[in-house]
């Protein structure tokens, strides 16, 4: 594994203002600043419209912020790059390729020798538990398996930061729980920096060393938590973690924050 000590992700005073066709403008993000050390696991939570997806797209390089900047490895982010891998909710796999080809896509694009790709893909198939499915077509896999492929495809590139945009949002509850375990295992096993956006408070608690609660209008960081549950989840069963009294207390606390925000939005609309 590459030395990642200097690859801290800096988000400096990032603002994003969208101008609508009718002339009004929306402040999706205002003065968001954040520093993420290598190997940290950050989950971002917030009501819809709080700009969390916009923030992720800016970090990924798909959007240029109207103000501020994102810096990784001492370089300003100006566009997408293989140093920042992305896992989408669903539908981002290439159906015309086998599982194996999907996972090796990034390596092939960079002209890595075939034998090396094969080795790397085999290794990743093993890690995500799909070693028997390498030659299957994407549409033959279940939703959970497809997300395993997406994770493996992202890891194959050995990115410094992995950005996950509600990666488990479309899965059923049981599969989701299994996949949460996998994400934790991958995080610990690879030591990658991970930013994970989610709608689910439980998921944010379980999959965040740090948890960012964002608030809408304008999109901003409302509160940050440091949580022990991700570390606990690496060692123990996730269901054991959920029984923990601190977990329940934190869940209630964050839920009430989110509910308050939601009510505020509803009230403002009326």
């Amino acid at each position: 594994m590459r030395d990642q000590t200097d690859s801290t992700l800096h988000i400096d005073n990032v603002s994003m203002t969208f101008t609508l066709p009718n002339g009004t403008s929306i402040e999706a993000l205002k003065d968001v600043s954040l520093e993420l050390k290598a190997g940290e696991l950050l989950s971002v939570l917030g009501p819809s419209g709080c700009g969390k997806s916009t923030l992720l797209n800016i970090v990924a390089g798909f959007l240029a912020p109207t103000d501020g900047q994102v810096i990784l490895n001492n370089n300003k982010v100006t566009g997408p790059h293989s140093e920042r891998g992305m896992v989408f909710q669903q539908g981002a796999l290439f159906e015309w390729m086998s599982v194996r080809k999907n996972i090796g896509f990034g390596l092939r694009m960079r002209n890595v020798p075939k034998s090396e790709i094969r080795e790397k893909v085999d290794e990743l198939l093993e890690i995500v538990g799909l070693h028997e499915f390498g030659d299957k077509a994407i549409y033959e896999l279940s939703g959970g398996m497809q997300q395993r492929v997406a994770l493996a495809r992202c890891l194959a590139n050995d990115p410094d930061v992995i950005l996950m945009d509600e990666p488990l949002g479309a899965l059923d509850a049981l599969t989701r729980e299994k996949m949460q375990g996998l994400v934790l295992k991958l995080w610990k096993g690879t030591g990658k920096t991970i930013v994970l956006i989610t709608h689910s408070v439980e998921e944010a608690l379980l999959l965040g060393e740090r948890l960012l609660v964002m608030a809408p209008r304008p999109g901003r960081i409302h509160k940050e938590y440091k949580l022990p549950f991700a570390e606990m989840g690496v060692a123990a069963d996730l269901r054991e973690v959920k029984k923990h009294k601190d977990y329940a207390a934190k869940r209630e606390e964050i839920l009430s924050i989110i509910w308050e925000m939601e009510e505020e939005i509803m009230g403002r609309k009326e």
């Binding site: 990924a60 798909f62 566009g79 997408p80 790059h81 293989s82 920042r84 891998g85 992305m86 989408f88 909710q89 669903q90 539908g91 981002a92 796999l93 290439f94 159906e95 015309w96 896509f105 990034g106 694009m109 960079r110 077509a137 994407i138 549409y139 495809r153 992202c154 590139n157």
Partner: protein, 424 residues
């Protein structure tokens, strides 16, 4: 009307017989077996095989029954053939009346018919017996008074047929047909036509098979059948390939670039709804009636369809796939080659199927207008000689080929874009 009534009667009775025979035990298998709600559940409606088989048999039976086919045991009554006779009554200038018999022999078209021989019975009086030959499905004038004595005199008229009075422009029925008196007083005999169709309207199925064998062996008008069909297919494939060659890159350009889209949108949107057949006159004026004209026409027919489908294919690529590819380190060229092109293939295949169908229809129409060789040329030439069997054979062949093209395209689609319709 009669045919339609019989057809509906068969449809209804077959349904009731089937329902009676199977009742509620009508075999449903698989998922549908235990469904209690089937009315309104589209997935529970499957094509009934028995109905399909009966449907096809019915069409051929009716076809055979109404054309006197030897393949079908039951026939509707055919036209009258053989010998018949009727009696006419003539009234001469002195108001005297006399009867005479007309012996008529009716034969099929194309048969040798000898005049019937009047029986050697004495028939005194001024009206003399007559003989005539008439073709089935036709009528014939019989100048019965020509050999009568005193028929030149003013006031000599034929006044009755088989005892039924007749005046000019009136029609009376006799045993085996109808007799009409023309305005000038001549009799016109039309033997009963029966319910069968004459071969020039609709030949029997076996006649068409026979013709197919004959034409595929000897050709038609010095052009073999495979040449005719080969030329049509050649034009379709060439026109389609040229159209795709220009249309697909154009569609990609329109899907990927503002300027291209703005420039070509008005052209494509205007040309798309114009049926290719409407372009035939202009294409003939510009390119003439030979190969260049036809291939240009098919090129135009395929071009817009392929442009629009490949544009739709490009527009249909989900943004997360493109984002994913860029995040994985792909360059613009690699995104185009490895993401956009494969992602658009299903749409392009759908377009290609439509385009091939349209081209096949257009080539036949274009050949009807002008061609030396081709499937359309063959049937239009045959129709000018009333060779209905060749026309029907040609239509069936055109249908079979069009259907085969579609099957072939679907097969290619399944092999080449197996992920079609399976992504989310």
């Amino acid at each position: 009307m009669l045919v339609l009534t019989i057809y509906i009667a068969i449809f209804v009775s077959a349904y009731f017989i089937y329902a009676f025979a199977y009742g509620n035990k009508a075999p449903k298998r698989g998922f549908n077996a235990n469904k209690t709600i089937t009315f309104g559940d589209e997935s529970a409606v499957t094509s009934n095989r028995t109905a399909s088989v009966i449907s096809v048999i019915t069409i051929f039976t009716i076809w055979g029954a109404f054309t006197g086919s030897s393949l079908v045991p039951l026939h509707v009554p055919g036209p009258f053939t053989g010998d018949t006779s009727f009696t006419y009554t003539a009234t001469n200038a002195d108001n005297q009346q006399d009867d005479a018999v007309v012996y008529v022999r009716v034969g099929l078209v194309g048969e040798e018919i000898e005049d019937p021989v009047a029986p050697d019975v004495a028939n005194p009086g001024f009206a003399i017996d007559d003989v005539a030959t008439i073709r089935a499905w036709r009528s014939g004038l019989i100048k019965v008074r020509k050999n009568d004595f005193g028929s030149d005199a003013e006031g000599y008229v034929v006044s009755a047929i088989d005892g039924q009075p007749i005046v000019p422009n009136q029609t009376v029925s006799v045993v085996d047909g109808q007799i009409r008196m023309t305005g000038k007083g001549t009799l016109s005999f039309e033997p009963n036509q029966g319910w069968q169709m004459e071969a020039i309207w609709l030949p029997a199925p076996e006649a068409i098979v026979k013709r197919l064998i004959e034409i595929s062996r000897d050709g038609y008008q010095n052009v073999t059948l495979s040449e005719n069909i080969g030329w049509s297919l050649f034009r379709v494939v060439t026109g389609f390939l040229l159209g795709s060659l220009v249309g697909i890159p154009l569609g990609y350009a329109m899907g990927l670039n503002d300027w291209f889209r703005g420039w070509f949108d008005p052209i494509v949107e205007f040309m798309r709804p114009i049926p290719p057949l409407a372009l035939i006159p202009l294409v003939i004026i510009w390119f003439g009636i030979w190969e260049q004209g036809k291939i240009s026409l098919l090129f135009l027919a395929a071009l817009w369809i392929m442009t629009i489908s490949s544009r739709a294919g490009v527009s249909g690529v989900s943004i997360s796939k493109v984002h994913a590819a860029y995040s994985l380190g792909a360059s613009k060229r690699q995104v185009l080659l490895h993401v956009i092109v494969p992602n658009s293939l299903p749409e392009i295949f759908t377009g290609a199927r439509v385009a091939m169908g349209v081209c096949w229809g257009t080539v036949v129409a274009a050949e009807l207008v002008a061609a030396e060789k081709g499937a359309g040329k063959m049937i239009i030439a045959a129709s000018k000689f009333q060779q209905t069997d060749i026309v029907i054979m040609g239509i069936i062949l055109i249908g079979v080929i069009g259907f085969s093209i579609d099957i072939l395209m679907r097969y290619a689609e399944r092999k080449l874009v197996p992920w079609k319709g399976k992504s989310d």
